[in-house]
């Protein structure tokens, strides 16, 4: 296991070392000590490695991730896993705003709560939040799935496109053009698989969730919808 102590090394040195790894590297397990809430830790990775951050991370931890598994053992700041393409990002604590923003792929798991705008403009990522999510989550969400075991705040899924939202608890309100939708077999199968991937098999049943998605009424400009624009 490779250990980088951020009390002795800089963030630049850490990221540069991680960027230098080849796809067939044998140095597949990294541990980052004393992260101290620094921003942009383990960003732009592109190798099948595991990076454990032993504490809290600041903004944009694991941003634009490809292939790698990044585990934040504390809380994560704004935009954790933003624009990730593949791989897995796992926050053991809570996540701040815009978790998984615009991410195209991979899996983001948050053990605690996520704040406002979780999954904003998500483009294919799957996000599983074991706690609750704040207001405006899945705003303009384009693709992928957001699973929330707790509650969702105001205006869930506002202006949503084709992303699928599964919420077990209460939804304070739905945003423009977001509606509750029928949970069909394909959705139950997808949800079951996501809960499996997040290691939640047995902790909750798919029957406890309700599904939300786009009513698709705002996809094209229409005079009668002017008030919603």
């Amino acid at each position: 296991m490779q250990v980088v102590d951020l009390d002795r090394s800089t963030r630049r040195e850490l990221n540069a070392e991680l960027h230098a790894l080849k796809k067939d590297t044998n140095e597949t397990h990294w541990r980052v000590l004393n992260p101290g809430g620094q921003h942009a830790l383990a960003v732009g990775l592109d190798a099948p490695i595991t990076v454990e951050i032993a504490g809290h991370a600041g903004y944009y931890c694991a941003g634009m991730n490809r292939q790698a598994t990044v585990v934040v053992e504390g809380n994560a700041g704004v935009g954790v896993g933003e624009n990730m393409m593949s791989g897995k990002v796992h926050v053991r604590g809570d996540a701040s705003q815009s978790a998984g923003a615009t991410a195209h792929g991979g899996l983001l798991v948050i053990d605690g709560n996520a704040s406002a705008r979780c999954g904003i403009s998500m483009k294919g990522v799957n996000i599983v939040v074991k706690g609750s999510v704040g207001p405006m989550s899945a705003f303009m969400a384009q693709a992928g799935a957001l699973v929330v075991l707790g509650d969702a705040g105001d205006a869930l899924g506002d202006s949503i496109y084709e992303a699928r939202l599964y919420v077990r608890g209460a939804v304070k309100s739905l945003g423009a053009d977001c509606i509750e939708k029928e949970m069909r077999d394909e959705h139950r199968a997808e949800l079951r698989a996501l809960l499996d991937q997040a290691g939640l098999n047995g902790e909750c049943r798919v029957e406890e969730f309700r599904r939300y998605g786009s009513a698709r009424t705002l996809y094209n400009f229409h005079v009668d919808n002017a008030a919603a624009y």
């Binding site: 935009g79 403009s121 693709a143 400009f221 005079v223």
Partner: protein, 443 residues
């Protein structure tokens, strides 16, 4: 008195309710929705035409037009980037998306810019392989929508432009109507085909200058500090926006005036939000000077650049380079009078065609229709663009030599006077024939 032959006052249109205004009221009354169009502000605005150069005279001597060197190159991104950009000419191609433009038009922009030794820029919708392949120097825009944004393309770019706003619509997001959301455009943007796409107007994961600083740090970390990072703003509060961009760690600031074009925006937004580029340059340069960052953080200005005179005037006011969008499209073949018959069928006329949102461009530029797009020969169009860029440069050099400058960057406000009080106040140069700079004593 002969009551049959009284002279009549001729019919008079109202200056306030002019025929264009009346037609817009009728259109609004019939449809119930605002007008969406392309291009930039069309109203008359204080512009570079209101400035003149003072050529060399007894106190200053000129350079020989065809013999003495007048350099035109520019470095961009020298503040922090390990790999700054070096361009042969200070005229770049502004960001325009694949989606708003056809693949042929994007290819022509890349080829033409590469021939001329300058950069081109992606747009809201990601980077196409063709565009990367044909552009020697390519700036990758980082927009609120993040359509098509991915680290692989980020690493292929020569610079990154964080777009906060554009001159045609400061405070507004992108728009691409369903007619132009073809299969390929939809796939690149992860959107259903044929929808009216409305991009976000704010970035999804940062708010304000303190966050922007952290976002720029992240982009530098991801790209190992190699690439210049530009910050683009629409001209509104240029002094503060430029100061905040510098504070946030930008290498280059791009400032776009309200004459800058758009692919699709509400007409009311284009014509009534933002300020002309003439009014924006001096406050922007002032901010750089106050921070001791002029020429260290480079300033690119855009919005209504048409000629080498405009280029020279923008540089004299303190810009390091300019960007062109609308003029580049015209050089490719947009609004060509040879297509007048087809413009007439669309209810318009060559020179006024601005329904770029409709995707029915007879010139094959602002369209995703494969038949129309095939009309544009990217090779021939790129040659026209390269010729035009060459003329802009030669014209700017002509003026600079007349002012005795061995580099375009040696042009300065002292070389200029203004024809109108407005232009004198905005450009902070004297009204011609006077020493009066309106407002100078209170700035």
């Amino acid at each position: 008195m002969d009551l049959t032959n009284i002279p009549r006052t001729m019919p008079r249109h109202s200056a306030t309710f002019d025929p264009h205004t009346l037609s817009e009221i009728r259109r609004a009354a019939a449809t119930g929705i605002y007008d969406i169009r392309g291009a930039g502000a069309k109203r008359a605005l204080p512009h570079f035409d209101d400035l003149l150069f003072l050529g060399a005279s007894i106190s200053r001597y000129p350079l020989e037009g065809y013999r003495e060197k007048c350099a035109t190159d520019v470095w961009l991104g020298t503040r922090f980037a390990k790999k700054p950009i070096h361009l042969k000419i200070p005229v770049t191609i502004a960001g325009m998306s694949f989606g708003s433009l056809s693949a042929q038009a994007k290819e022509a922009l890349g080829r033409g810019a590469s021939i001329a030794g300058t950069s081109t820029t992606t747009g809201d919708g990601g980077m196409t392989a063709e565009e990367r392949g044909h552009s020697q120097t390519l700036v990758y825009q980082y927009l609120p929508s993040r359509y098509g944004m991915n680290p692989a393309d980020l690493l292929k770019a020569d610079a990154i432009e964080v777009v906060i706003g554009q001159g045609a619509k400061p405070g507004g997001g992108g728009m691409l109507l369903g007619q132009k959301i073809s299969d390929r455009v939809a796939a690149m943007r992860t959107l259903p085909k044929g929808i009216d796409q409305r991009s976000a107007c704010r970035h999804p994961d940062w708010t304000g200058p303190d966050d922007l600083e952290i976002k720029i740090q992240e982009l530098r970390e991801i790209t190992d500090y190699e690439k210049p990072i530009y910050v683009k703003v629409g001209a509104t509060r240029p002094y503060y926006d430029v100061a905040l961009a510098v504070k946030s760690g930008a290498d280059v600031v791009v400032l776009d005036g309200m004459q800058g074009g758009t692919a699709a925006t509400q007409d009311v937004f284009i014509e009534h939000v933002g300020i002309p580029i003439l009014a924006a340059i001096r406050p922007a340069v002032q901010a750089l000077q106050d921070l001791d960052m002029h020429r260290k953080v480079q300033l690119i200005v855009s919005g209504g650049i048409r000629s080498g005179a405009d280029v020279a005037k923008a540089l004299a006011l303190g810009a390091d380079a300019v960007a062109i969008g609308t003029a580049a499209l015209v050089a490719l073949g947009d609004n060509d009078p040879a297509l007048e018959e087809e413009y007439q069928k669309l209810g318009t006329t060559a020179g006024a065609y601005d329904d770029w949102q409709d995707g029915r461009d007879p010139a094959g530029i602002t369209t995703q229709d494969p038949v129309l797009a095939a009309r544009l020969d990217p090779i021939a169009a790129s040659r026209r663009l390269a010729n035009y860029l060459s003329v802009l440069t030669l014209e700017a050099q002509t003026i600079a030599r007349a002012c005795g400058k061995s580099h375009l960057h040696n042009l300065e406000p002292e070389d200029l006077v203004a024809l109108t009080i407005e232009a004198a106040a905005m450009a902070r140069v004297p009204l011609a024939g006077t020493s009066w700079i309106p407002g100078a004593d209170r700035f």
